[in-house]
Amino acid sequence: MNYTHFPVISVMGLFLGAFLVEVFGSKNKYIRNTIVLLITTCAAGLMLYLVKPVFIDGQIISYWMGNWEPVEGYAIGIGYEIDALGMFFVILTVLTIWLAAVYSIKYMEKDSHLGHYYTLFLMLSGSVLGLVCTGDIFNMFVMIEIMTFAAVALTAFRNKKGAHLEAAFKYLVVGCVGSGFTLAGIVLLYMQCHTLNMAQLASILHGNLTPVSVLALALMFTGFGVKSFIVPFHAPAADAYMSAPTSISMVFSGIVNKAGVYGMIRLLFVVFRVMDISSVQIMVVLFGVVTMFIGVTMALAQHDFKRLLAFHSISQIGYVITAVGICSMKGVVSGLFHAANHTLFKGLLFLCAGAVLYSTGTADLDKLGGLSKKMPKTTICFLIGAFSISGLPPFNGFASKWMIYQSLYDKAVTTGNFFYIFALVCAVVVSVMTLASFIKVTQAVFFGQTPAALKETHEVPFLMRLPMWIMSLLCVGCGIFYRFTGNNLLLPAMKSTFNITSYIDKMMGEGTAAASGIENITIHAETGFEYWEPVIWLVLFVTVLLAVFIVTLIGRRDRGKVLSTKEEADGKYATFFSGEKSSHSHVAGSDLFWGFKRNWKGYFNVMQKFHSGNVNDYSLMAVCCCALVIVFTYIVLL
């Protein structure tokens, strides 16, 4: 079975699907749903078929568009190339797309113009899949552009509210400024190396960094930074996540910012290979730490459910960037693992937000409350998501955050640089703040008292709960069997980020890598998973729980009875109001962490000014950051 064609088939299939849905699907609901589900399932099937050859056999799938093989060592055509790193992101993309498609069938039922919605959705998923599979820089740029357009159009999909349009406009402007930088970078690279194929670029650029290619590096780094919403460019992202329909904001936080991260990894590790210079590492880690911190502190001050989740995905991307920036073997493994975990638990949280929005109609933390009695299954999924994002041990968030800390303190010790200790401490504190903001959401939305308006909310239909269940099972599974995912998925991905000789030889024919002087680093199989045994901890937990349960069963007759009531009651079953009649007083989201906000008044005021909501400020920030990166890379690399 010749599987080299599969990547192109699935990407083009998605675009074809978009076209078909536009043509046939706008009238009839059933045709539209079947087309969407069929296309996304086929794309998923085709790409998952490739998992075995890429990960287990270690093959690299390369495919030349129109069979334009390279001529005397010069790549002419556009090449698709998927190595272990690319495949890792492909799995994330395909999984998120399929789940979003299943979710949005029921979630978007009440909206109109669903034909356009699904067209844009399939365009978005096709472009991200294309971006991750391609081996050609300009093709990656075109896919980024399609992704940005689809994302902007989807953000403005519900154009009744002005805020959505404003968010879409800001996202478009900052996005296009970013992709302008990327395009300029690509062009300068072309001027330098007269080729667009990443493998060949890597072999040419190895060792001889001229001022032009350093400028290209800086511009492209900023371009991909804009796409992955790290700090100076994160404000429009928060608005975009909030305004887009939730199934789309799940795709945003799942794969759109991951595409930016993938681009950055491909750029820094494979094409330019500048990551072994310590000051570049410090720059990337600095970006990561600042993104982490600002993302989480802003999330603590939010009143809207989806905006809070948006700021959290920004801060989790900060984690991934920090981990990848460390550029040690364990660092890249933990970074990729955290990217995967982030897609899982952030997708789950957005789905729960969508479920809450679907059944209650509002996402404002101050108007919600006590939904756990009306929507028990969503609450369970939400709790699993919240616990895994805040890094509680049995869940997957902890496994990757713990590996990030390990790599951070290894780096701190090997380089003897105190900055990494600061990054480690900052990472731990940000993790606690993440827990704090999710406790705030749990109390504000799910537990606490139900306001009168939400008395008759009921559970969301099964088709919306299915993706939630799948994701929560994956969250728990990745957490407990993280060695399995570690050895099978992450190690090959990490090997292919460091050893790119096979990547280059596959595309450009044997020996080109050796000719250009790129040699492999020996990757010893230490995975650093040895200290934490989740399975043993879980077995212990269950045995002790059983023991306690048995003891309570023995003493059952002597213990006091458990009394509870279903209907509204005053007196014995009412909450204690120091004697008063228990009226509705729900400690909503905004009143929590009063003490914390008072302490940090100075910081939060600066943050208010920093997120001014003005398009000019955002683009000014993007341009200044690009200038700073250019100056920094010139000082460092030349």
Partner: protein, 333 residues
């Protein structure tokens, strides 16, 4: 056959020695001691040392009322999760030279395992749906945010000191290191870290000056306001075991190798019981009591802080102390 014995030994370890009974008994004793010493410091007789045990048994006998606003399954399950995770943590901390499940957890895992009981209480309180609990939860979270920063810095400094050039976070190696060159607290640069840790434990456990989350007077026991009967008993038991876990963690981190010289040869079915008894139990009991004295001393002479003062206190004074020792260790004093 050996795997059968292995299972038996594991069950004994989980249920008897460092597990359920040991942790619960030790916790209740330490909690009783704490109340007794505070009374003595106020020149009053104070309750019998077994008072927490009586409290727990009395609470078992009481009726459990689940308010109609509460989410019943979460409300009733939260105390068990908190208590059991603390007992499991007790298994992972090496006592003397002997650790029940050796090498299965290092400091960062312990740091995160400590959050589970706190989150269990928070989710339990939030599930009870009372406004007092809501405020109690936010205070508990701010306290957690406050003491997490100095706690990680203390762990880093201990790991750096023990690891020498490379950082070693494994509790096993820390105890081994202390076997050779004496307890960590004797090396000069670690004294600020020890003081910082002693200030962190009361906040972690919720003892007087820092129990802003469960302030009986202001917000009626914070998250525990709606609990009664057996679940409340489990929470109180959890707090008691937590005191024991934190003091034994402090002992294993800072007061390690005091009794390293003594070897008593009694062996019962292959386990060096003599060694275990001296180096493990007695050594830990003494150190736990000493640590408890310091905390009770702070408890007896201070009044409860407001939440923002607590946050400022931890992020300036305690974090500063631990930073000093980290820098000293980093320079290699």
């Amino acid at each position: 056959m050996s795997s059968f014995f292995q299972i038996i030994e594991n069950i004994v370890k989980a249920m008897i020695f460092p597990g359920l009974l040991y942790a619960t008994a030790g916790g209740l004793l330490l909690a009783g001691l704490d109340r007794k010493i505070i009374a003595r410091m106020q020149r009053r007789v104070g309750p019998p040392v077994l008072q927490p045990t009586y409290d727990f048994l009395k609470l078992c006998g009481k009726e459990t009322i689940v308010p109609h606003v509460a989410n019943k399954p979460v409300f009733l399950a939260a105390p068990f999760v908190g208590y059991v995770s603390l007992v499991v943590m007790m298994l992972l901390i090496p006592i003397g030279g002997y650790s029940a499940f050796s090498g299965k957890a290092d400091l960062i895992v312990i740091l995160y395992l400590l959050t589970i009981p706190a989150v269990a209480m928070i989710v339990g309180g939030s599930a009870s749906g009372s406004p007092f609990a809501g405020i109690g939860i936010s205070r508990e979270m701010v306290t957690m945010m406050a003491y997490e920063l100095p706690l990680i810095i203390v762990f880093l400094s201990v790991a750096k000191l023990v690891g020498g050039d490379s950082m070693n976070f494994s509790l096993q190696d820390i105890t081994a290191w202390q076997e050779q060159n004496g307890p960590v607290i004797f090396s000069l640069s670690m004294i600020p870290a020890a003081i910082a840790m002693l200030l962190i434990i009361p906040a972690e456990v919720g003892m007087q000056p820092f129990d802003v989350a469960e302030a009986e007077t202001e917000i009626c026991e914070g998250p525990l306001v709606e609990y009664s009967g057996f679940p409340l008993g489990m929470f109180k038991l959890g707090t008691a075991v937590r005191i024991f876990v934190m003091t034994s963690l402090f002992t294993s981190l800072f007061l390690g190798g005091i009794t390293s010289g003594i070897h008593i040869g009694w062996t019962v079915c292959g386990v060096y019981v003599g060694d275990l008894l001296v180096r493990g139990l007695i050594h830990f009991a003494i150190c736990a009591v000493i640590t408890l004295l310091c905390m009770t001393f702070i408890h007896a002479i201070t009044a409860r802080l407001k939440i923002e003062h607590l946050f400022k206190f931890y992020w300036t004074v305690v974090a500063g102390l631990s930073l000093i020792s980290l820098i000293l260790v980093w320079i290699g004093v």
